[in-house]
């Protein structure tokens, strides 16, 4: 490089000025050689970095879908809250005070519990049972969802889970078994959202089943493809 080529001229050349002399052309050749020889990231690294962006895409897609289905979700949530209040009313009604243990027969009458599920509830009620708020089912475990809506519903649950930074495992059935793991403190909120999602998708639930598992951070759902019907919130 000759002394004629000043730092300013070099900057200008690299910023796109055309070469005017052989020296300048040589210099741009060196730059081009350097660029051409630069290594590229491996496919493994690409995959690793691509995966970083995926939750953002899913969450954004989930937000868009939520906006579209907001009215249906709100209606379904109201129905679920009403169901919860109905169960609580049984507990605090004339047959017992606020501290009275729940009688399995009462729960069965209120929720149409099957004998097997009633046994389970009976175990949980016991002689020194907690109040019915502990027995209120926020998210039933067994759902019948229209076959055409089941995939979209699972996608929606996937988005909800991603937004709460949880994990989801889906066993393609039939039936489809979905296991969602989220932070323990957020599980009930996620459960309510999932219930609303499935209700909005036209799903009907077996209200005697409970998606909460022994683990405080996990929900387990069984989705069976079927025909549409009203949500089972009675």
């Amino acid at each position: 490089m000759t002394d004629d080529l000043t730092p300013d001229r070099l900057d200008a050349l690299l910023d796109g000025d055309a070469a005017r002399t052989d020296d300048e052309r040589d210099l741009l050749d060196v730059a081009a050689t350097l660029r051409a020889a630069a290594p590229r990231p491996s496919p493994t690294l690409r995959g690793r970095i691509d995966r970083l962006g995926e939750p953002t895409r899913r969450a954004r897609a989930g937000r868009v879908r939520h906006r579209a289905t907001a009215p249906a979700l709100a209606a379904a949530l109201v129905a679920l809250v009403a169901a919860g209040v109905a169960v609580r009313t049984i507990d605090t009604g004339p047959s017992g005070g606020a501290d009275a243990p729940v009688q399995p027969t009462e729960l069965r009458a209120a929720t149409g519990t099957s004998p097997a599920a009633a046994e389970r509830l009976e175990d949980s009620a016991g002689s020194a049972a907690p109040s019915t708020s502990g027995a209120t089912i926020v998210l039933p475990a067994a759902w019948t969802v229209p076959a055409t809506a089941i995939a979209a519903a699972v996608d929606e649950i996937r988005s909800l889970t991603a937004e709460r930074r949880g994990t989801i495992a889906v066993e393609q059935g039939p039936p489809v078994v979905v296991t969602v793991t989220v932070a323990a403190g957020t599980r009930d909120g996620v459960a309510a959202q999932i219930a609303a999602t499935l209700a909005a998708a036209g799903g009907t639930a077996d209200a005697t089943t409970d998606a909460t598992t022994d683990a405080p951070d996990r929900l387990r759902l069984v989705l069976t493809a079927g025909t549409s019907g009203p949500p089972a919130t009675e």
Binding site: D11, D26, L27, V30, L34, A37, P39, P41, G53
Partner: protein
């Protein structure tokens, strides 16, 4: 509309921020190139590139497109990631030397795969800051003021380092 009002409306219009996924796809190659040039070790460069994007992902909400381009922002992060690593590595080596009670041994820099030997040798003869300036200005096409800001030096110093580096490279690589 007067010139003044046009200026105000331009300033107030928020810059559209790209998504993290788009920025990562667009600038992954550049960040990797920069780090390869900086640490001279392909495997380490891959690890540091991944670390850069992991750090950028957790801080993406802080990225302000009105203050810097996504590339400049990512390169600034990658530089901190690399410097943190190099400092930690230096401390580790010093500790090991103290324990071993010996003299620090010279370690050959790993060979950069893909580069012609003459070019790799020429790049090795540059100083650290010269290599960084070449990476930013030549490989990544970052403009002078942005490169100077990333390196924490004045634009004049950046131009001088670049001139010195390109002079050396041209002399080494001349047929």
């Amino acid at each position: 509309m007067t010139v003044a009002s046009i200026t105000v409306s331009t300033i107030r219009r928020p810059q559209p921020a790209p998504s993290f996924a788009d920025a990562a796809a667009a600038h992954m190659d550049a960040v990797h190139r920069y780090l390869t040039q900086m640490v001279r070790d392909p495997d380490l460069a891959e690890d540091l590139t991944a670390a850069t994007f992991e750090r950028a992902f957790t801080r993406w909400h802080r990225f302000d497109p009105s203050r810097a381009t996504a590339l400049t922002w990512l390169i600034a992060i990658s530089r901190r990631v690399a410097l943190d690593h190099l400092r930690a590595d230096r401390r580790r080596r010093a500790r090991e030397m103290r324990v071993a009670g010996g003299e620090p041994a010279y370690v050959d820099p790993p060979e950069l795969s893909g580069l012609p030997p003459a070019m790799a040798a020429a790049l090795d003869r540059l100083t650290d800051v010269e290599r960084e300036v070449v990476a930013l200005r030549v490989l990544l096409d970052v403009d002078g003021p942005s490169a100077a800001r990333i390196l924490g030096i004045s634009p004049t110093a950046c131009s001088t380092h670049l001139h010195r580096a390109m002079t050396k490279l041209r002399r080494e690589l001349a047929p």
